[in-house]
């Protein structure tokens, strides 16, 4: 099926509709024994017309689900394996041998970090809110007189007098987990524990040693003494990684890196 070359240009061109040619119907058109009249066609759920497409959809799902149902192993794609390396962010000594894991680690723990108190947040929005509520003295003054605690859900315009009220709103209205936490003060650490990430998660999960609630939204990245490493192997890395970095075959962007599946063709 050869398409006219100008078509691709048209697709890339400006929106617009064609100026219609004049319509002029003859009453004899479509009269007996003929019957044609242009008709909008609609198909309901169970119509046979959908059979082929539905079958293709289910074949795809069958392929996918046979993989999903399998025993979980640590997911690995051989191409993503690299020689072991350490996270270069100051104070973090997590080690990786797969780029995808590192990307996840970086986004979860180092990406939106408060420069005042080193807390890490899952998004820029939450980081901004945190800075406002924690490191802005004007906020505290205003909060005495008016509702300043903004709902964390983007698009919800509710404001609250206290963070506790806000939390209640989040749980009731937006169905956040009841043990969600955004504002509990940091407790100082004991002796250094290997791996900043594990330490952080243990605390976030309401570990008994540190009485605090677990949470889904806040990730803490406290400074931890780095484990000793041979002096000669220290490398100088830039700590500024652009936000659009995508290691190896990380997060897909649009259609460019569409998923690859093991199709049983």
């Amino acid at each position: 099926m050869q398409l006219p070359p100008a078509l691709h240009a048209r697709l890339a061109g400006a929106p617009g509709s064609a100026e219609p040619l004049p319509v002029e119907r003859d009453p004899a058109a479509g009269t007996t024994p003929f019957s044609f009249a242009p008709r909008l066609v609609r198909f309901p759920r169970e119509h046979d017309f959908f059979e082929d497409g539905d079958v293709q959809r289910h074949l795809y799902l069958q392929d996918v689900l046979t993989q999903v149902g399998g025993a979980p192993e640590r997911p690995r794609r051989p191409s993503a394996r690299v020689p072991e390396f350490t996270c270069q962010v100051a104070g973090c000594c997590q080690v990786f041998d797969a780029l995808e894991d590192y990307e996840h680690h970086y986004h979860a723990l180092h990406r939106n970090v408060c420069s005042f108190c080193k807390r890490a947040f899952p998004s820029g929005h939450l980081l901004d809110t945190h800075i406002l509520e924690w490191h802005d003295s004007l906020f505290q003054i205003l909060a005495e007189r008016q509702d300043m605690y903004q709902c964390l859900v983007e698009g919800c315009t509710e404001k609250f007098r206290t963070s506790r009220d806000r939390k209640e709103h989040l749980v009731m209205r937006h169905l956040y987990p009841a043990d969600f936490r955004f504002d509990k003060p940091r407790r100082s650490r004991g002796p250094a524990v290997p791996g900043a990430a594990e330490q952080v998660l243990a605390e976030a999960l309401g570990d008994d040693r540190v009485p605090s609630e677990g949470d889904a939204m806040e990730v803490c990245s406290e400074h931890v003494e780095p484990s000793p490493e041979p002096a000669g192997e220290r490398r100088a890395y830039s700590h500024r990684i652009p936000s659009t970095i995508c290691f190896g075959q990380g997060a897909s962007r649009g259609f460019k890196s569409a998923k690859k599946r093991n199709k049983h063709q």
Partner: protein, 458 residues
């Protein structure tokens, strides 16, 4: 997990021919199931997946205390492996309907699961998504409905992260979309589930996830496009979806798809094309699609260009989806002089004629679209003529399929009516002989005779 080979490559245990044979068998089984109205992903996928993947593990029925323990371990365990293990055990248990029931009745269980779905540990997120996946497989509507409020929260949470979508989030989103699509496929969905979905913020979230752009993820989009399809073809309140911008979002997505199809050889785009084509086609039949003021109409000529690029792609990759594409073309052109004009001015008639040899269903649709153009009058027929149209019509008259021939006769009538010289040319090309073949066919004879008269006597 949906988007990548998370479980690693499966060893090829049989030859290519056996695989093809196996696939044909599966296809036949699915067709049969659909005809018997039994095509619900859950049951069939359950059996298939269980056979191949469980490797002899029998799912246990867990009671409240056990479930609580798994959840506690998953949330608060100190060892990563321990936490994952707890979720794996829970997931296996959730294959049993009894465990599912117990789970949803246990207070806070869904909430805890939601918490794990938004954990910052990738593997926990994935296992939690698998649990949600199991629940969405349930045959019991109560179980699936219990997941519905969680879906809303999760979409809110995940949409808030749209600028940092990382792979576990995408996997969770895909799982959510799949779970929702199961919910929407249920028999009772149109009465019970779809109205409440339409009354929530879910449609807006879904449309947001279908916005073309750098953040669009194919796996996620596929699931939510199917969700939209199940909602739309149930015809509960499509006008509402149109006011929320469904037509324009899907139209832009169609353009984006056509662009993607040109750039990459990657398979999988047809998985998204199918539900998008269906949604657009069905939405166009709504009265609201013709709203005064034109804001809500789909009028952009680029949609036609995109559709043809997709038709070409489907011809290569998935010819069985050509009818769906042509269905959209019919709905675009039926009442739109503008789109009919686009077909002519963009030189798309000849490519359209190329499709006439694919199958009877496709041929009927192609001829219907051509009739949509021709019936608008002389100005349109003039642009259809001369060109390859006549010889294509003579070819279709040689078909034995009654519907194909019937549609050809309708088109001929319009051409004879509006285009001077058409009848003459027809005669000169042995048109009468072509017609004679069908003189005795009941559904065709009256029209055949009428055309013979017109051709001979004007």
């Amino acid at each position: 997990m949906w988007s990548r080979q998370r479980g690693g490559l499966k060893p090829l245990r049989c030859g290519v021919e056996q695989l093809r044979c196996r696939r044909r068998e599966r296809e036949a089984a699915l067709r049969k199931a659909r005809r018997e109205q039994q095509l619900v992903s859950k049951r069939l996928l359950r059996d298939e997946a269980l056979e191949e993947a469980e490797e002899g593990c029998v799912a246990m029925i867990f009671g409240e205390a056990e479930i609580q323990q798994f959840l506690r371990l998953a949330q608060r365990g100190t060892e990563e492996k321990e936490r994952e293990g707890a979720l794996v055990s829970l997931r296996r248990g959730l294959q049993r309907p009894e465990t599912q029931q117990t789970f949803i009745r246990l207070e806070g269980s869904i909430r805890t699961l939601v918490g794990l779905l938004t954990s910052n540990q990738a593997l926990l997120q994935l296992e939690a998504a698998r649990c949600l996946h199991e629940l969405s497989h349930s045959e019991q509507s109560a179980v699936v409905e219990a997941c519905l409020p969680a879906t809303s929260y999760l979409l809110t949470y995940l949409s808030g992260h749209s600028s940092d979508f990382i792979s576990p989030h995408l996997t969770v989103l895909e799982a959510l979309g799949y779970a929702l699509s199961q919910l929407l496929q249920a028999k009772e969905a149109p009465e019970k589930i779809i109205p409440s979905v339409l009354g929530s913020t879910l449609p807006q979230h879904m449309l947001q996830l279908l916005q073309p752009g750098p953040k669009l993820n194919l796996g996620v989009a596929v699931e939510f496009a199917w969700c939209l399809h199940y909602i739309i073809c149930s015809q509960v309140n499509n006008a509402l979806l149109i006011t929320q911008g469904a037509l324009s979002t899907l139209g832009l997505l169609l353009l984006d798809l056509a662009g993607a199809v040109q750039r990459t050889e990657d398979a999988g785009l047809e998985l998204l094309a199918c539900p998008v084509l269906r949604c657009l086609s069905n939405l166009l039949t709504e009265a609201a699609a013709e709203a005064v003021g034109g804001q809500l109409q789909l009028r952009d000529e680029r949609v036609v260009a995109a559709l043809f690029i997709l038709l070409q792609f489907l011809l290569q990759k998935q010819p069985s989806l050509l009818p769906e594409g042509l269905w959209l073309l019919n709905n675009l052109t039926a009442n739109s002089p503008s789109f009919c004009t686009s077909l002519l001015s963009l030189d798309l008639i000849e490519p359209l004629l190329h499709l006439l040899s694919v199958s009877n269903v496709v041929s009927v649709l192609v001829l219907t679209v051509l009739c949509n153009v021709a019936e608008k009058g002389p100005a349109y027929c003039q642009r259809l003529w001369p060109g390859p149209l006549l010889s294509s019509l003579l070819d279709t008259l040689a078909f034995s399929d009654t519907e194909v021939v019937g549609q050809s006769l309708e088109l001929l009538q319009l051409l004879f009516l509006y285009q001077p010289g058409a009848a003459q040319a027809f005669l000169q090309q042995s048109g009468l002989q072509a017609l004679q073949r069908h003189e005795e066919v009941a559904q065709l004879q009256d029209r055949v005779h009428a055309l013979q008269q017109t051709a001979l006597h004007g």
